[in-house]
Amino acid sequence: MHIDNFASGDSLLHRLDPRVKIVIALLFSVIVAVADRPLCLATAVCFSLALLLLSSLSLREVFLRLLAVNAFIFFLWLFLPFTYGGEKLFSIGPLTATREGIIYALLITVKSNTIVVALIALLATTPIITLGHALGHLYVPSKLIHLLFFTVRYLQVLHLEYDRLRAAMRIRAFKPGTNLHTYRSLAYLIGMLLIKSFDRADRIRKAMLCRGFHGEFYLLSHFELQRIDVIMLLIMMLVVGGLASLQWIILK
């Protein structure tokens, strides 16, 4: 299982303090998610694209990622143009598409993709474990952070375990299809995966107790704001503040 696909790289955004990136990503997502004024959204799109260029990620891979993420949006396009009241634009059989409906669907699509692009540029450029440390420094409850660390750690171990079980099934000529045999085999596969992880968890617990674990974790990565971090933080805060004022303060 490959995680952290976009995290290797040496662009400005890859090197930026993860705390700065998390704060900006959160503020930006919230503002864009609730925004509806065209000028504000247009600015947000430009900011997102600028971030993407700064991150120097492969545009092709980002585009493929966007396609996968847009499944829900595509689904909404099947309905929104026809169910949103307004001025009639064209009809397909009994369905009437309205101008407002199409504009609304377009609005959602733009908002969704603008946020996702910014998230890729800002957050996917940091390894998940580093993000965890940064979240710890941003006052996210420590239990949650530890849960995140352990889950990431065992995600890969269990995926290997899964691959092994799956290989064992393939060797025995298992071919999935729409039948009870398939469903039973897959259900047992899931059961086996749970049992193996349950036993593994017990071994981990004992191993940790042996090494003096008493429920306390220490954050080992500490971050220090460099001059470039402060400058980028100020610039991005200005943009985010500008977006907020375009949405709420400056009148049309």
């Binding site: 997502s29 998610a33 829900f72 909404l76 239990k143």
Partner: protein, 204 residues
């Protein structure tokens, strides 16, 4: 089952985030530090299980398994699902930051409900009864999740009503499939490792 960023209205996003915050706080309170590795390993296992593609006719679906997760983890299902979805958002950009609250609640609330409704009866000595309960657990969890999904869309705007209805209907095969898989899986677990199902109940 993920709602994308930029779709829901602010009140729905805020309500989802608030409800999830309460659920996660409850879950973290009931989970002592010693339990963290166990919950994490099972979270990872469910994450991997949700990647399995199960063939249904010409297409294939991914399992959600939130009912089973609720049975095994109890209230820890809230933080577990939050972490799982946060990972999906950060690693694959499915879902997102602003929708994290809503998406977590949509999956975790039915999980908790299943824990209370079926937690005891699935280990019943009566095999027929246990199977029926296990099926209902898988079925109900998806039914409730798709209803919550529909409700969050409908509260966002009237124009989503049609899409919401179709979403619930489209989940019907998934409900049946999950019921079946959970029933088979629980039958297996009861035979092979009954302790697994008593994890959270034994702890209170």
């Amino acid at each position: 089952m993920h709602i994308s960023e930029g779709v829901l209205s602010p009140p729905v996003l805020v309500a989802g985030a608030a409800l999830t915050a309460v659920g996660v706080a409850m879950g973290l309170k009931k989970m002592d530090n010693e339990k963290i590795p166990q919950v994490a390993v099972l979270t990872a296992a469910f994450f991997v299980a949700s990647l399995i593609r199960v063939p249904v006719g010409p297409s294939a679906v991914h399992l959600v398994l939130n009912g089973l997760l609720g049975l095994v983890l109890g209230w820890a299902a809230f933080p577990a699902i939050l972490v799982g979805l946060a990972l999906q958002a950060l690693l694959f950009q499915f879902g997102g930051l602003t929708t994290l609250g809503v998406n977590t609640f949509i999956m975790a609330m039915p999980a908790i409900l299943c824990y209370y409704l079926f937690g005891r009866s699935i280990t019943s000595k009566n095999t027929g009864m246990a199977t029926a309960m296990a099926f209902s657990c898988g079925f109900l969890a998806i039914l409730l999740s798709s209803l919550l999904l529909a409700i969050s869309l409908i509260f966002t705007g009237e124009s989503f009503v049609q899409a919401a209805k179709v979403l619930v209907l489209a989940h019907l095969p998934v409900m049946l499939l999950e019921g079946l898989i959970v029933a088979l899986c629980l039958a297996f677990l009861t035979k092979v490792k009954p302790e697994l199902l008593g994890v959270t109940h034994a702890a209170g």
